[in-house]
């Protein structure tokens, strides 16, 4: 490996790491926002939980989305005979999306890193191999998934909160109903998390039946433990909703943790997906359809996320605690659980969706079930605008950077 090439690889690694830090800082509110808002978690606890679970999610389940981002939208076979073009193009896409996201964050615009990476890839495809290498069907599917994921999260949250409302909040004895229903909800949460870990984790190669079996056992065990813990639990307060919300606080933290986990799994690819591609090309000199993502790279992405969460993310979370004050654990749980499920399903399908937009959809879903006092729906306009703007601008930036590299070399 030449000296220039290794310098290049170090720069690529650095940009990947920088993006991971950025993603961690910007997105930590998605998982922990409602828990901090409802005062179930302190800022410090939320930050530590988010950092640990993002890291675990990235390292254990992170590889699925990585594949799609790289091989889905642009066809790598167009670069089979030009590995250097692929390397510099991937580099330009990384830098382009990183600059776009950093600028938007500075301007306080609600853009998604995931979407910016897709935009960068398209710019890269257009400038290097031309229009033909872009997989239009795949692109349409990806863009549709951006629309569908908040919608799906919203519908799920609406249904879940409607059930909580019917069975618990509107029961004549809300606390007793909570004790009855909580173990089932705990079962559901652990089922979703275990399935997502065991079904497609690269490090734990389980067969379908084995994965489902082990997930059911873990979920069932957790449900039983929850049932026994609740048996002797007595409400101390006279107000009948206070103990209900207190119990739901535990569920809210659990589901917030699954969002953090899902976020790590989903979003680490945005940071290190292209890094993996560049490294593979540099090591083997060939561009192939499937590139294994080394665990050390996933772990590096996970560490980047965690660092971002602990540094700038800390300040973001503090703002959240001041600004979101009117959410209670029953609402927070419904929104977070629905978002986690949506993100994990989409990660499994390899769809690069935005965690931020999914959680926004879920919270709106709870709002439509008359669960939240005041929602500022004006934000939807901003989000839709960001969908329209992100791809072209990130693509253009990538094209400029690529031209710049060509010019200098």
């Amino acid at each position: 490996m030449s000296k220039m090439e290794s310098t290049f690889l170090v720069i690529v690694l650095f940009i990947g790491f920088y993006k991971a830090v950025n993603i961690g800082a910007n997105d930590v509110a998605n998982s922990m926002g409602t828990s901090v808002g409802s005062k179930t978690l302190t800022v410090a606890k939320a930050v530590i939980l988010a950092a640990v679970l993002n890291f675990l999610g990235a390292t254990l389940v992170g590889s699925n989305v990585t594949d799609t981002i790289r091989k889905g939208i642009i066809d790598p076979s167009a670069f089979t005979f030009e590995p250097t073009v692929f390397m510099y193009g991937a580099f330009a896409a990384m830098l382009g999306s990183a600059i776009f996201v950093s600028t938007s964050t500075y301007l306080k615009l609600p853009v998604s890193t995931t979407h910016a990476v897709v935009g960068g890839l398209i710019g890269f495809g257009l400038i290097t191999a031309g229009y033909s290498c872009i997989n239009i069907d795949k692109l349409i599917a990806v863009v549709l998934s951006w629309l569908i994921s908040p919608l799906f999260g919203g519908i799920l949250a609406f249904l879940l909160f409607t059930c909580v409302k019917r069975w618990i909040l509107d029961s004549p004895t809300p606390f007793e109903s909570t004790k009855k229903i909580l173990p089932y909800l705990v079962f559901l949460i652990f089922m979703i998390i275990s399935l997502s870990i065991f079904l497609k984790s690269p490090n734990l190669k389980f067969s379908l039946i084995y994965a489902v079996g082990i997930s059911i056992s873990i979920a069932f065990g957790s449900g039983v433990i929850c049932y026994h813990l609740l048996k002797g639990y007595k409400p101390g307060e006279i107000d009948h909703y206070v103990p209900v919300e207190r119990l739901f606080g535990y569920l809210q933290v659990l589901s917030a943790c699954s969002v953090a986990f899902a976020h790590g799994a989903n979003d680490v690819a945005n940071a290190i997906g292209l890094v993996a591609a560049v490294f593979h090309v540099a090591q083997t000199g060939s561009v192939v359809m499937e590139v294994p993502v080394p665990t050390w790279l996933l772990a590096m992405g996970g560490i980047g996320l965690a660092i971002g969460i602990c540094t700038f993310g800390y300040r973001v979370i503090e703002t959240v605690g001041e600004r979101i004050t009117e959410i209670t654990p029953t609402r927070g749980f419904s929104a977070e659980f629905s978002a986690a499920t949506t993100v994990l399903i989409c990660s499994k399908l390899g769809l690069p969706i935005s965690t931020s937009h999914t959680i926004v959809g879920s919270v709106i879903g709870v709002g439509f079930a008359r669960g939240i006092n005041a929602l500022n729906l004006g934000i939807i306009k901003n989000i839709v605008l960001s969908w329209i703007v992100t791809i072209p601008i990130a693509a253009l930036l990538t094209i400029f950077i690529y031209q710049g590299i060509q010019f200098t070399l």
Binding site: D170, V320, V360, N376
Partner: protein, 227 residues
Amino acid sequence: MAYIPPLVKLFGKSPFKPLHEHILKVNECVNQLKPLIEAFVDQDFKKVNEIAERISKLEHEADIIKNNIREHLPKTLFMPVDRCDILMFLKEQDTIADRAEDLARMLEVRETKLPVELKEDVLKFTNKVIETVNALEVAAGELSEVIESSFGKHEISKVLKLIHNIDKKEWEADKLVLKLLRKLFEVENKLDPISVLHLERLIHTMDSVADHAENAGDRLRTMVARR
């Protein structure tokens, strides 16, 4: 200033807490009618003026809360209840304090003599009007429970019962108005015509305090009832 994620921007400022502060203020204002009318019955006009100032101050404070709610209620705000219902409820609630202030001002501007025959019924009537507004305050206070239950039917039926109580008190107040007016016109020859007219207007203004409490209750009903 840290980056503000879309999730945070999604949460708007809820009007329900200030709405509760508003009814507490209005209720406090109306509660002052008791010492006000007692002073009037005793013909202690120095005290009447003092209490009238207090009422006026409370009314002004309620106005500030009201304006604050209105300023923070953009059309894009999505709430579990209709925005119009909230604004109408607020308006009725605010008129209660306005009428209480009107009454205090009317007592301030003319030292009208109160015939002995009316004294007891005036006090009774005042208490009933205050009870009507107090009943509204209790019903409106339960709104937070309705919201907490996300508009569960148990909590809604509790509030509907409390609103029914407002209607009952208002109806009783209406009956007292009739009795009072009859008594007033029975003794009209003992009084000068201006005093009769002034007393008549005082009774009607007092009655409209209860009327607006009933209207606010109606608005509360449309707010909590299932859409």
